[in-house]
Amino acid sequence: MTAYIVRRLFAALFVLLLMSFVVFRLVRWLPGDALLVKLGEAGRIPPDKMEAARKEMGIDRPFMVQYASWLSRAIRGDLGRSLIWDEGVATRLRKGVPITLELAILSSAVAITIALPIGILSAVKQDTLLDYIARVVAITGLAVPSFWLATVALLYLTLWFGWTPPLRYTPFFDDPITNLKTFILPSLILGFSLGASLTRMTRSTVLEVLRNDYVRTARAKGLQDRIVIARHVLKNALIPVVTIFGLQVTNLLGGSVIMESLFSFPGIGGVTLQAVSQRDYTQIQGNVLFLGTIALMMNVLVDISYAWLDPRIRYA
């Protein structure tokens, strides 16, 4: 098992290195640069002043020099300073983590609460009215664009019920009630979207497992359906579900860019989007590295959970 993890770690490092290089190259193809962004409506200033400013930001050096310099610091854990903001890259990331984490946790909770019970019920009572309703609702949840839903919800909540959630971010430990009021709408919308695909996956894997011989045996033995499901079906059915859930959580941790921008949450997704549009190269690098690491860690976690769920799976 340890050999497996070590191999995975090496592979992960290689992937991260490759990815950071690709991104470094890619973002330099973006038109415009950080200095013009900073100048804003001041537009163009005399050329000598522009050169001096670019030199101070470090963006006038050749590409490989910039990459090497970044890499040498990143290896030691120093992600550098943002090109645009007067802050360190890591600091800006860190400030966004609690928001994204909270949104991720709440949305996942909503998704699981919807998906597991409905998916299992739907599979057990296949082709009944309940199943059809569940499937149509799940598929609708997949089809409705979440940004549309959010806009509609916000507007009609205000107009019809006169209730607007507090739209300014309050940290949880400052004021838990306001914080939860702010988070409830986006969590529900996001959770509904995610829960939809999770429901479908749960349903199809449970269906698959229910066909198996050992389930027929258990039923023939006279065991109640409930016990059959809990003891025999669930663990096996959950493997693909866990895969999808892992992917979803990875995406959530990357910061749901659209939700964050609609509700003005200063989370990681927003920092990343902002960094790209501001051509903040160092921030983009740092964010991508961070998010890549999270994704890889989630992959390992998911794979390890397979071993726990299905004793037949062993990693040499």
């Binding site: 537009g43 002043k49 007067d86 800006r92 400030k95 205000t158 607007t164 609609l262 549009s277």
Partner: protein, 612 residues
Amino acid sequence: MTGRYRVHQTRKAAVTRRWALGALATGASAAFLAACGGRKEERAAQTPGTQAGGAAPQAVYLDAKSKPVTGKEKIEELRERFHPRNLKHLPGWKTGPKYGGTLRFPLNVPVSWDLTGPAASALASYAMFHNKLVDFEMGDLSENLNLVKMTGDLSQSWEQPDKLTFVFKLHPNIKWQNVPPVNGRQFTSEDVKYCVEAYQKAPVQSVIYRDVERVETPDATTVVFKMKQPAAYFLRVLMQPMNLIFSREQHESPQGLKSGPIGTGPFIYEGGQDRVGLKARKNSDYFKKDPFTGKQLPYVDRIETQFYADTNAAVAAFRDKQFDVYWPQNRSIWMDILKSNPEVITQITTPPPSAQPYFAWRLDKPPFNDVRVRRALSMAIDREAIIAGPFDGMAGYGYAQDQTFFGQEWPWTPDQLGLYVQFNLAEAKKLLAAAGFASGGLGRKIEIYHITTTLTIAFDTTQLVADMWRRNLGIDVVETIPPDAAAWQQKFFGVQYDDVIMTWYAGPSLDPDAYAYDPLHSKSPKNYFKVNDPELDRLTEAQRVEFDVPKRQQLLKEIMQRDLDQMYRIWTVTPYKINVRHPYLYNAVDQIHAWGPRGWGSKVCEYIWMDK
């Protein structure tokens, strides 16, 4: 004046006399200010022509409750009904300002607090922590917020003994804020000198002080500017909010000005986070008193700003009274807010020259190097339709020159802008034929580069113009949208656009020089249009050194005439500004060049008070 342009065009005869008096008065004040000397802060009521003709004012309806807003009113009616001069009739002014409260409005933190860095132009929106030498009048009791009136800030008075000298007399008891590293020490003229010398090397402000030879400080409350050459623009640009005075101690500290905004200003910065907002508290040792009421400033205890990435979220929060003042982008949003909150107070301000959608085109490449083509394309634009469309009537014809320098309150009228802004398809086709395009079209695809789609009215205008050129002149127009703002900046500020590009920026500035010299002089770095016209070079250089106001106005008029005659840029329309606030808020005003308290009007925070 020549036959083609009339200086003042008034619609209603009944208003003419009062109007002319007002124009004369403000023109005279402008001349007085610029040429002869300073004066102490004045009460608004002194100048003739600004009160409602001396008679009892007509009834004032600043909200939708006392008199509904139907949505069918013409702009002339709206701009009189919601005119800023009516704000003094709000009920709270009977008793006068109260102290206390927390001001909330949408504002993010800036990317950098370094006033001497490249991001300094954004810091004009954060002027509530500092002061500058001179300012412009703001507040409900102002004479006329559609015009520019210089007032003192750090200085009490100023004079111009000769063409190369400006003398400012400072308030005697200004103190820096009681935070490290300045710790409440006395402010002196040396602080001003230090700042100006630092600004002369800064990327953004150096252009303002380019003609300053040296700064002298004969005593602690006197600052003398000695200029290299006459600079007619200087006083007015000093009013611009990026000229904030910072301290030597902070500038020389290891972190420099990046550590935060520390000044002499009415509020003390407490902290802020990107995409959340900032917090500030009142500076109880602030030196300034309200020039209108004589009371100690500031009135509110705290400022807490918020950030909204999405317009719908901002509108929802405003309706829910989660913050106090808002600036609806267009008439639609304004009407929506009035429907749900008819009690909000509205102010409609004249359009600023600096924020309007217009097009730049490559004057050095065919087909736009032919003036007939340019005139034709401009005449194919139905500006009335654009005004009626996305602007819902709340726009005027656009041209980027400050009409208030000529004493004119409202935007330029079509008559003042010449032949080629009139919608005349027959004439346009004739011109195109004369230029060699008799069969319609321009012989090849023409690319129009949009500005970012978040600037929605510019986006709409561009689409309309593109469609008008397609349908009316048969031109094969290809529209390109920039993926984001930085890509557009590269195209426009880097002058890398191929054919036509939509832009929004002119100036910004409080002096006509930036609207004349900067875009039109062949050697100006801000000439993004490749204008190369020796006549304009001569005229723009001349207006810079002309202190006599009528003479300078004449020069600027000639520049405007030539610019419009040659159609060096395509003008469309310019939107009026709308400001709505909850009725408990006072003094949260816009001015022609400023949105307050956001943008260049951030200084107005010191005047804002609440009746809650």
